[in-house]
């Protein structure tokens, strides 16, 4: 009941947002700069074939491969840093620096390494997404209760057991925060990656349309990207709720 009311008012809010956008777009009247939502939806319908069949799968595979690598890499680095303080001191500056290099400065290097394969796009995705996972997981691993750790030590638990039975459960809520940021970034990461050289993909399509001054066609694939982002986010939230169901609900 209350929940349904909540959804309703949420829906109204989003509707209001779209109406304001539509009105603003019509007022500004520069379709190529700010297309109205109706124009975008029309274009989306018109282009549904190529977008869904050709470009979506390309982008989606980049996202998924990139995310899997990011999670492994981000968690790996976080674990390494939490195990060795000197690794933390050495790696943190390097990974922060890695975040400072604009992708287009790296683009030729990636192409040099990976050519125009999917891997150059995956690398961009990973570069953009592993950082929030690393930071959150690392902070999460340090958030484990000291009392519980001591208790497990007295039970003869080794590093490995403390890690899996105490630190991992304590880090999970933090990890999920990072993952939510990361899945969101992964979508835009894959889209940016596609500019480095691609022949298909939603980001590539959007960029090509920019050169054509076709505002609605620029935003149509972005709407799809948003949907992917929202879906990934919802999936992570769902997994989060499932795996943290021991948490007392308020």
């Amino acid at each position: 009941m209350n929940n349904r009311k909540g959804s309703l008012s949420a829906g109204l809010f989003i509707l209001a947002f779209l109406i304001i956008w539509e009105a603003a777009a019509r007022a500004v009247n520069m379709i190529f700069i700010l297309p109205p939502p109706t124009g975008i939806i029309e274009k989306l319908w018109e282009l549904k074939g190529p977008l869904l069949i050709e470009h979506l799968p390309v982008t989606l595979s980049t996202i998924i491969i990139g995310l899997v690598i990011s999670i492994l890499l981000g968690v790996g680095i976080a674990v390494w840093m939490s195990v060795s303080p000197s690794a933390e001191k050495a790696i943190y500056p390097i990974i922060i620096s890695s975040q400072m290099i604009p992708i287009i400065a790296l683009a030729p290097i990636f192409v040099l390494w990976f050519g125009y394969s999917i891997w150059s796009k995956v690398v961009v995705t990973v570069l953009i997404t592993f950082f929030p996972i690393t930071v959150n997981t690392y902070d999460g691993l340090r958030s484990g209760s000291q009392e519980l750790k001591e208790l497990m030590l007295t039970m003869g638990a080794g590093k490995k057991e403390i890690f899996f039975k105490l630190l991992v459960p304590s880090a999970l809520p933090h990890f999920y925060s990072g993952l939510k940021v990361a899945v969101t970034l992964s979508v835009i990461g894959a889209a940016i990656g596609e500019w480095l050289g691609a022949q298909a993909g939603l980001g590539y399509f959007s960029r090509r349309m920019m050169t054509q001054f076709d505002g609605a066609a620029v935003f149509a694939p972005i709407v799809l990207l948003s949907l992917i982002g929202i879906i990934l986010f919802v999936i992570v939230k769902w997994i989060e709720n499932k795996s943290l169901k021991w948490r007392k609900s308020s």
Binding site: P50, I104, G115, Y116, G197
Partner: protein, 319 residues
């Protein structure tokens, strides 16, 4: 596409004599200026020369030179001043093998009802450019030539967007707009513009687009590149004689790839381009004078710091 091309190459390998693979990176996404390449591909001119072409698009305007220099692509389409700059100041070992567009497409563009009538009027105005110093030099030369003070022009890097800079009136004029792209595109969108031709105000008549390769690639694959060029020239000849058919080949290729071009715009574009691409001495021929003139202008306007070295900067493939 890359895959299917190489597959094709492999199956062809079995049947006939070995095909040479040529990767060419365009200066930008496909448009009218590239018609000759698509025609040569479609009409089988490349096949006839035993060449398998792979056409790629850049992420950055600088990619064609960088990746050609790195040997990642056989040829890259770039700009004459960029080649000089890369070769002279940074020692990037690239050379031009052929001029594709023989005079600047680059224009100083502003809205039709703008008060700007001559380059001197740019004084006190904001001029947007895409962050390439060449464009700053163009404005400087033009304004100085028109007896204005270039220092009074407010140059601003507007990044990705020349068109919106003009249309939103956040810049009074932009430099770097192409007479065959931005101008007709804006017109198509309902924005009339006027423009200045830099060559009329002291900027040398440089080659807007040239095909570049690295010294090393040239060394190793001279024959292949020459073969490629013969096919390209045939493609250009066909384009010149049958512009409408050439254009429709380009348009249909792009349609197939789901990136429809605006026919009206590309048609205007090709009309502008054809005379600028044609050369008495054969498609792609280059003159030493053009390179020297451009280099000297660049030196004078501070675009290059070192003494230009032009011995190896171009080879005349058309000879």
């Amino acid at each position: 596409n890359t895959n299917s091309a190489s597959e094709k190459a492999q199956t062809a390998e079995g049947k006939e004599k070995k095909k040479e693979k040529v990767t060419i990176m365009l200066d930008w996404y496909p448009n009218a200026v590239h018609s000759f390449l698509y025609v040569a591909e479609e009409k089988g001119y490349f096949d006839a020369e035993g060449i398998d072409v792979d056409i790629q698009f850049p992420a950055n305007p600088t990619d064609p030179i960088q990746l050609a220099a790195a040997g990642k692509v056989t040829l890259g389409i770039s700009y004459q001043p960029d080649v000089i700059m890369a070769r002279t100041d940074q020692g990037v070992k690239v050379k031009s093998v052929g001029a594709i567009v023989r005079s600047p497409l680059n224009r100083v563009m502003f809205l039709k009802d703008s008060p700007i009538q001559r380059p001197k009027d740019l004084e006190g105005k904001t001029v947007g450019f895409t962050g390439i110093p060449l464009n700053e030099a163009i404005i400087e030369t033009m304004v100085a030539k028109d007896k204005g003070n270039p220092k009074k022009v407010n140059m601003i890097d507007v990044g990705f967007e020349l068109n919106s800079a003009v249309v939103t009136k956040k810049a009074d004029a932009v430099v770097g707009a192409y007479i065959n792209h931005e101008v007709p595109l804006l017109k198509h969108e309902g924005h009339e513009t006027r423009n200045f031709d830099p060559t009329k105000y002291g900027v040398p008549n440089f080659y807007e687009l040239v095909a570049v390769t690295s010294d090393e690639t040239w060394e190793k694959q001279q024959d292949t590149i020459k073969a490629f060029w013969r096919a390209a020239e045939k493609g250009f000849d066909f384009t010149e004689q049958h512009p409408d058919e050439a254009l429709s080949i380009l348009l249909s290729k792009q349609d197939e790839a789901n990136f429809p071009l605006i026919e009206e715009v590309e048609k205007q574009s090709l009309d502008i381009l054809l005379p600028k691409m044609k050369s008495e001495k054969g498609f792609g021929s280059q003159t030493k004078e053009s390179w020297i003139e451009t280099a000297e202008w660049m030196k004078a306007s501070g675009l290059i710091k070192k003494e230009p070295k032009l011995e190896e900067v171009f080879v005349n493939i058309a000879d």
